[in-house]
Symmetry: C4
């Protein structure tokens, strides 16, 4: 939630925000978006590439995303605002990510989604190129949901550079994601959505943890025991309770050396 009076600041960018608020402050949601970038980098969910966005808390038709920069280096002044067709509101010469359409299309399709992570987590990638379904087998990963579809850009768009560049490609991906929380992109990575920045970040982290555990369990032989539908539903609720969410956000912020905000 933003403090009163932050709306104009948000529309005008961080430079304006500095005028509308106490010195050194910035809209809380944008500070948390910077923290999210640093956390995902620190946990190895993103490397040089990958990004995370948040829907504008004052305007559901807008979202915030860094300019084209590695998440480990993102600062407040790198954040740009976009409309749901992927157009920058006030670019100020900053170059956006080529794949901002992933975010634009998902926000357009899913009103309840307030944050989107796109990443190439190394532990998740093997599941993007094989038939083994990535399903939750440990309770902390219940939040990834029972079904993680795999989307292949080649199916509808043929030979590409693999990136989700157009709003049409973004919509097709959003359609494959459907009402799930995570989708894999063949030979590319994943998209993870959440009702808040914290939820999307946590889900992206435990998606990779779960992928590593599942890979190892498969090496032990036999069919790994999966979480039941009821366990997934109930455990997700617990993992997203304020108790669990605050605890893990504090932890990941401390590891990344950022203020929990």
């Amino acid at each position: 939630m933003l403090e009163a009076g932050a709306s104009l600041a948000l529309l005008g960018g961080i430079a304006c925000a500095a005028r509308a608020q106490p010195a050194g402050s910035a809209p809380r949601e944008l500070k948390r978006l910077v923290a999210a970038n640093r956390i995902l980098a620190n946990e190895g969910v993103v490397d040089a590439f990958g990004h995370v966005s948040v829907r504008d808390p004052r305007n559901a038709e807008r979202f915030w995303l860094s300019r084209s920069r590695s998440p480990a280096l993102v600062e407040l002044d790198d954040l740009m605002e976009f409309s749901l067709d992927g157009a920058a509101i006030d670019a100020r010469g900053r170059t956006p990510y080529g794949e901002r359409m992933i975010h634009a299309a998902v926000y357009a399709a899913r009103a309840e989604v307030h944050s989107v992570v796109h990443n190439h987590a190394y532990g998740v990638l093997p599941f993007t190129i094989t038939d083994e379904p990535l399903r939750p087998v440990v309770h902390t990963a219940s939040v990834i949901g029972a079904v993680v579809p795999v989307w292949d850009i080649r199916t509808k768009f043929g030979g590409t550079d693999m990136l989700v560049r157009t709003i049409e490609q973004g919509r097709d991906l959003a359609s494959a994601l459907a009402d799930n929380t995570c989708a894999l992109l063949r030979g590319h990575g994943a998209v993870v959505v959440g009702a808040s920045i914290e939820r999307a970040v946590l889900t992206a982290i435990y998606l990779q943890v779960n992928a590593n555990v599942l890979l190892q369990a498969l090496q032990l032989g036999g069919e790994p025991e999966a979480l039941s539908a009821e366990e997934i539903a109930r455990s997700s609720e617990t993992q997203f309770s304020p108790l669990a969410l605050d605890r893990s956000w504090e932890y990941f912020c401390q590891r990344a050396g950022v203020d929990p905000g």
Copy 2:
């Protein structure tokens, strides 16, 4: 062991302890519990989740455990005391872990246990969802014991959020643990007990080391040579001798940047 005069302090919490002891001091056992939290985090045995407790050295019907906080961040003032039904003695507004019943039930069932670790170590998790028994194959892990049972909360409690929330669930887990040192929780993690904080921490660390080694040995093919019952018994005794225990405690404290206490 606590210094003379620490009993009241322990009952009254750290704030009182400060009055009963030299400035800056705190009951030694509680300092070691803070160290244990930091060590387990630093060695990757716990992440945002997981916890470690110690039985009150002055009152066997009580145990100490942090408030709901990630082990990496636990400080002396986070420690709360509980009775063996999981009720907080002096909460002072602090929120306890949802799973304190694991600790309560184990202390009630096992008089010789003075410390309990609950964790979701990633290397251990694969063994919680497959039929491959986790058994000690290297001597430093002899302390995990010959048998590591797997407990499934679903068997008696059906579809849950996977957490051990009630004293009945805790007792059922303690009953599956029986007189072993470690038990696995299906799709969830492990519980590790010890006659002291140092023993429980060391066992939790080498449980994960052993899981990794066993997984790799299985990949090499054939049946890995296990430790014999006699080797497990004799090696455990050696690993828990003051010589080995002091050496490893000093080492893990130094790595975690905490005072050995």
Copy 3:
């Protein structure tokens, strides 16, 4: 690109460069070569061994390479210039790498190559001793190219110390590399080439990422879905666009604690 007036400095070494340029400055290409050394070490692409070179931007018949020193420790004054037969131009008592012939032979054979990395990345090594082809399966690794040949020094040179010591051995390796971007050396490592330092470094990093992902995908069973020829071509172009290259270079420099230059 070097600033005007740097040519003589380059020919005379860094000590001369200091005279021809503002205090503390050095030819930009050489600074980037130092950064490349540190990045490759920091990302685990090289360890005590391995090296990276750049073709002299003013003289295509010359290249720069550190004296015999681990990449993590290379400084500007360690850089030596060589002709394309591997002879040092101005050794000043410095001992060159025994395998500088890899670089010499590749620059002689491939006019479009401006940087060469030789490494023993642990994740790549398994593919040097088995029949499983290392091919790109994730888009960030499209830059390694469709074909990664394996060269065995034993085929033409019999029992050796495995090192590429002579210009004849270098030429044989260059011939096996042909017009590809990467080649593996059996039981030894890899050679990676690029049109610039940044490209060669990025390719070496993602060669290892891809090797790890492919190994894990193979463990999941079935034939991993590979990038198509068209995807490799288009994605390479994207990964080597200024947008992607600048972003990743900034990222890897920051992680290694070096100036992007």
Copy 4:
């Protein structure tokens, strides 16, 4: 090599050495032994347990080894001198490692050995409990030698605590090691010997690298191509040349934050 006049100092311990040499100095070989401890810890070759020794350069019937302490923490004053039956020359109240007999027996059996490492490197352990032979498959690991025997304490000594505690056990292990450079101890770890501290340390590091690479190569299927006997011999010579040895020693010292000595 020790400076002139260091002999008495060596016999009398570091405290005496301080009198016989310039302020702050210590016999070079002992400084390097401290560095070796720190390097092995930093590279994950040893953890809380494991040790490294050096034969006394002035008296072939003596060797130096830390008191019972984790290698990561070893300092000059922890070093103790032992005779070849494992008896401490001047304990000064310090407790020796329980397994010093490994070192004693190997020095007694192998006149050309000047340094011994004993470790439980996690990557090596799987090969101690399976039938898959650990053989060199990459050139940097040629120094481990063509044959790495596995010794099982149970064969001659029945059910033990797995530790090599008596000189008889040490001799049996030395006999299994024979004239090889490395031997594995079933369910326990490895012993690695060298003609110098640097050689033993390097060999111990690349033994683990090779184990990891071999494990992964086996997962790729087929029989990994091994180094030939001639390649092992020639490559070992190269890896132990001053050029390679100095380069890697400087590198590993820098990583461990110790003076190359």
